[in-house]
Symmetry: C2
Subunit: 454 residues, 2 copies
């Protein structure tokens, strides 16, 4: 019998996260103050994050120790399995070897708890009583609810009102773990009240929800804020994925030629790929790392590299990023986790320096890829994950054309159990291609008055 799953014991859960900043030839540029546009230091983050996370945010240490209590909670679902996708290889009739790291085995069903757990842990250690956050489709909110429950913290999730009404089951999941879920905009915050005064029926947006969560954290002594992607410390925590995958491939006697992951704000992609980029830096390997994004939100393939805000409203520090402009409104695709206008600072610098690649896929192509995967391998992937699968299929077809038996590794970042409405829409012919013209993109970028880089 062929071995499909390469597993590790709990004792083999890595003891350190990998901080790629230590190895980057060009370090990410500093964040700027949203008002003065001057570089800001770590102390500016103190009202929102605990000290330990701020230190990680600016650290240049290569390896950062994972606390034993975090490894202990990781062991609820980690190490996650690495699968050899024999059935997908057969379905594609490709000479490529395809592996996938499956992060959907976590209680929340995605890779998000990898950072939610340490974030909740460090907050608890520093005496914080409550964490606020925002969530769109609900993946990040449920991961943080799970993590806060474990460490006895209260969790307040500002959920985009439209999602709150259309995706009640993610909300129920958060409630089950004891979190309070508030439809945003709400009457609880100044930001929310302001929006509601203008439009009492506002459906909300991720930008508004961020403003509410940040406001509620900043005004209470015992409360901090947590973010699920983009920031350096979030990407750092996710490297547990690639570090495990590397150990697993070593056991299989293999090493990837191509590493692929979906791209929203960067943590999914960073999580799998950074530990392999390390081999490029340290050992001169030439592993290609490809970020997969939707053609409807193509910041890496069609955006510009400049300073931009993390939120829509313009309250956050300015970050150096590949961006479509913070006012860009992506089409309402089901892969909610990929509907973000910008990319984190580290990943943006890596792309700028030609150290990583990006590919974009249309909405119809990704569902075809997702269903092909589900039929071959059994697992129904989350809409975000189908973007990575689409890139895998492209690369596997290239291998076939070129007659090359390359090794492809990708991140199956979550299952689609809470996304069956998306598949239903596909079967009912409601999934359409979203063509973005250069004009659309230029229009959004022309409105930017944020600092240009270099």
């Amino acid at each position: 019998m062929k071995t499909r799953k390469i597993t590790l014991s709990e004792q083999e859960i890595p003891e350190h996260w990998y901080n790629i900043v230590a190895d980057m030839p060009n370090k990410p540029l500093p964040p700027l103050h949203p008002g003065t546009k001057e570089p800001i230091g770590p102390e500016a983050l103190a009202p929102l994050f605990p000290q330990e996370l701020i230190q990680q945010e600016v650290s240049t240490e290569k390896w950062i120790s994972i606390p034993e209590e975090v490894r202990n909670i990781y062991s609820i679902w980690r190490p996650t399995p690495l699968f050899r996708a024999y059935e997908l290889e057969k379905a594609l009739d490709t000479p490529a070897k395809i592996y996938y790291k499956y992060e959907g085995v976590s209680p929340a069903g995605s890779h998000k708890p990898n950072t939610a757990v340490p974030q909740a842990y460090y907050n608890m250690k520093e005496g914080v009583k409550r964490i606020t956050t925002e969530t769109g489709a609900g993946q990040w909110g449920s991961a943080l609810s799970f993590a806060c429950n474990i460490f006895g913290l209260e969790c307040e999730v500002y959920m985009v009102k439209l999602s709150y009404e259309h995706k009640p089951y993610r909300k129920v999941m958060m409630n089950t773990w004891g979190a309070k879920v508030i439809p945003s905009p709400s009457e609880f915050t100044e930001a929310g009240r302001k929006i509601l005064a203008e439009d009492p029926n506002s459906p909300g947006s991720l930008g508004i929800a961020i403003s509410e969560a940040v406001e509620m954290a900043a005004q209470r002594e015992d409360t901090k804020y947590a973010l699920g992607s983009v920031l350096n410390h979030v990407l750092l925590h996710q490297t547990i994925i690639g570090l495990e995958a590397y150990k697993q491939l070593e056991k299989a006697g293999d090493l990837p030629d191509v590493v692929i992951a979906p791209f929203g704000g960067g943590s999914n992609f960073a999580g799998l790929s950074f530990p392999f980029l390390r081999l490029n830096f340290d050992e001169g390997k030439k592993i290609r790392c490809i970020a997969s994004e939707p053609t409807s939100c193509p910041k890496l393939t069609r955006g510009v590299f400049r300073y931009d805000f993390g939120d829509t409203v313009g309250m956050t520090p300015l970050l150096p990023m590949y961006t479509l402009g913070h006012n860009f409104v992506p089409a309402p695709i089901h892969a909610g986790g990929l509907r973000y206008h910008g990319a984190g600072a580290i990943v943006s610098q890596l792309l700028k320096d030609g150290l990583i690649e990006a590919q974009a896929h249309d909405n119809v192509e990704v569902f075809e890829a997702g269903i092909k995967f589900a039929k071959a391998e059994g697992i129904i992937p989350a809409p975000e994950a189908t973007h990575g699968i689409a890139t895998v299929i492209r690369e596997a077809e290239r291998c076939k054309r070129e007659g090359k038996s390359e090794t492809i590794l990708f991140n199956l970042c979550g299952h689609g159990n809470f996304d069956m409405k998306a598949y239903q829409d596909y079967f009912e012919g409601k999934i359409v291609r979203h063509e973005l013209t250069d004009e659309d993109i230029q229009k959004s970028l022309a409105a930017l008055d944020t600092p240009v880089i270099g």
Copy 2:
């Protein structure tokens, strides 16, 4: 770091299923013809099932070899992990050691693929082109859809119309794996047309759906029928669960004092417990095996042992079973898999002979148990699984009162990702206790004219 998950390699997937019939002191009584009420032989099943499954249905061999092709597909999700529930133990402050076998890691999210895969395999081997089945909430239908897709068989699922309308996501899941899902009653069968003529708005029932699926299989040469519980061969396939759990507990240097599983038709309970009952038979162990049922459908704790039909309409052979009467209509609890009037022949005989136990739990108690579990261990359990958890909590509390450090093992048969509506109802106060009076039960039993036993 304490080890939470006891894992096995794919090479350790058992090579045989365990057939408890070989060890039973009193074998199950034979099925009777629904018309003549005379015992029937295996040949009566030939229009519906392939030969290999019929042989398994009547086999008295103790060990039945698992085909290599089936073990290969099992390896997509098996061996499943065995968890030591440290956090639940802590939450209950019990001296008991609690383990759970987690079957929710299968692509369909429950233990059902354990039998769906071999059933599809044997059908494929014997040249069958299409399998029909019925499904209520959709767990069995999705498992069979997954399995048929793997072996290139068509799959036709008759889904109770009310569920078809209220639970569209299970239907989408089946579609994703290529199955055809038909709301029942339908115009495609005589049974369906008859019901629709009487009531064009019939919401359907599992009994009607069985009649439709059986009719469609019986009338087509290339089509067979598949059942997801009750029958001997189904219970047999599920013993893979307990056989793995036994190996895993051996690795942990442990052996259960109490084995617990939810009870619908019997396959869930049989799957985990039979391999431990074997130790009682073979080695004189005294492991208690407890079936957990809802108080709203208490066939084991309050039913009678007599012949009864497997379906509502009275078309199937008569089976010796603990039953509430085939016309009994259980309250509409969310644990759809436990809403069945009778118990399989083997389990019924074991209960009659005092070799197993049963406990019933109220609807409110099981949700409290499920949420306690989710908060402690992270995984949100399926409503069926919460019944087992409620029994675990009772036994763990008994251990605490008695100051005993017993070892408790239970079957976490599936996750609740498709059942968040149930949790939502709980949080909204819509989950109510269902009190069955003796009169309710007597009324249903009084209507029975099926043969009495002994």
